[in-house]
């Protein structure tokens, strides 16, 4: 279905941002849990893992930011307008773009919230 856009939106582009969020979440918690296991020394510091989480967060935010800007840009350029109620391929495309924008915004904030503990905790407690 060529509609004259750069990207053809589909369910995969829609879930890209939440997927980045999910992977980021998994790696953040998994890595620190791995570092602290079996948690015999609860005052052990987690400096390295905090840096890792920080780097990961920057990458994740960049990825989500890209998704956000792309979807928003295409939506705007093609005159997207809510509500997307019409029964056509064109409106379906706009609808997906708009949903992608919303999900990317949500994921962006979620990634920050996920990473915040690592910004504030210094050890395995």
């Amino acid at each position: 279905m060529a509609i004259g856009n750069k990207t053809r939106d589909n369910l995969w582009t829609l879930i890209t941002a939440p997927t980045i969020w999910g992977v980021h979440f998994l790696l953040c918690y998994g890595s620190v849990a791995y570092g602290c296991a079996p948690n015999e020394n609860i005052f052990q510091t987690i400096g390295g893992f905090r840096i890792f989480v920080g780097g990961l967060t920057v990458v994740a935010l960049a990825g989500i930011g890209f998704v956000f800007m792309r979807a928003l840009g295409e939506w705007r350029r093609n005159g997207g307008r809510i509500p997307h109620e019409e029964d056509s391929a064109e409106v379906r495309e706009r609808f997906l773009e708009f949903s992608t924008v919303l999900l990317a915004g949500l994921s962006f904030i979620a990634v920050i919230y996920t990473a915040l503990p690592a910004a504030m905790m210094v050890d395995c407690r």
Partner: protein, 290 residues
């Protein structure tokens, strides 16, 4: 906390009054959109971020090292096994440390010190909750959880099991007695003493004859059972059977004679078949275990 709740309450009630009484009727699309963006996105994100940061920076302080005693608390269906001054192990252990001064169903704490609970369970998941002193901490079989508490005000507090664990879950409470550090030391020293029981004591004889000693320990005697609570200083507690009845000779007799009517589901048989005199003799003797 209360202030926050009041603010939220006033805001919610105020909004509902506004929307139903002061300005009923529909809003334009622009206004609705603005409400969603500011009220539904920006506002919660800002508030939640502030609360999250605030909560997170409080966490390490809450879990700082203890400078008071280490107390092992084993949550068992449906009572609390307590041991004072155990050797605390750092980090996560699979089972509670052995030893310490045994007690049950009542925990004394020194005011002004950070005491550390090591919390475990041999059967199912329970949760130790002393609302005035600390948040809940689960007691999980095969794992020891740590909870550091710092009571500041002497007094008697109530605690409960906060995780459904079976029939008598609702009757699995405990008293927490906060006293000065000196009184705490004296209390633990008293609890560490054996009971003084004459071998020819009528009540004690009935106690062993009926097999109570298979499950209960009375230190200083041949009773060394480990299934139920240590009874060495039973009468020094404020309650019977984990907060179920106030401590008194009559209530002791009631509990022994009608165990399952008082507290259904406990792992102690009812001794209703004993004669009233016999139960009274046992209860009278239990009452001397100060």
């Amino acid at each position: 906390m209360l202030a926050g709740a009041v603010v939220i309450w006033v805001a919610v009630i105020g909004l509902s009054v506004f929307a139903t009484k002061i300005r009923p009727g529909a809003y334009g699309e622009k206004a609705g959109l603005r409400l969603i963006v500011w009220g539904g996105c920006v506002f919660p994100v800002v508030v939640l971020t502030a609360l999250l940061v605030w909560g997170l920076q409080m966490m390490p302080v809450l879990r700082a090292e203890a400078n008071g005693p280490t107390i092992a608390v084993s949550a068992e269906r449906f009572w609390w096994r307590v041991a004072y001054d155990v050797d605390g192990e750092p980090g996560v252990a699979k089972s509670l440390p052995e030893g310490g001064v045994p007690s049950a169903n009542e925990i004394w704490l020194p005011a002004g010190l950070r005491s550390e609970f090591l919390i475990g369970s041999p059967d199912v998941i329970h949760s130790l909750w002393i609302p005035s002193i600390a948040g809940k901490m689960d007691a999980i079989p095969g794992r020891v959880n740590r909870l550091v508490v710092e009571p500041t005000k002497p007094g008697v507090y109530n605690g409960v099991c906060a995780e459904f664990c079976g029939d008598a879950h609702a009757q699995m409470a405990l008293r927490v007695v906060v006293v000065s550090p000196e009184e705490y030391e004296a209390y633990v020293a008293r609890q560490s003493q054996p009971a003084s029981v004459g071998a020819d004591d009528e009540g004690f004889r009935r106690f062993t004859e009926n097999g109570c000693d298979a499950c209960h320990t009375v230190r200083g005697t041949a009773a060394t059972g480990k299934v139920g609570p240590d009874l060495t200083h039973l009468a020094s507690r404020r309650t019977i059977a984990a907060g179920t009845l106030p401590m008194s000779p009559e209530n002791l007799a009631t509990f022994v004679g009608f165990t399952h009517r008082v507290k259904p589901g406990v792992q102690m048989p009812s001794y209703g078949m004993l004669s009233e005199d016999e139960i009274a003799a046992i209860a009278g003797w239990l009452e001397t275990l100060k």
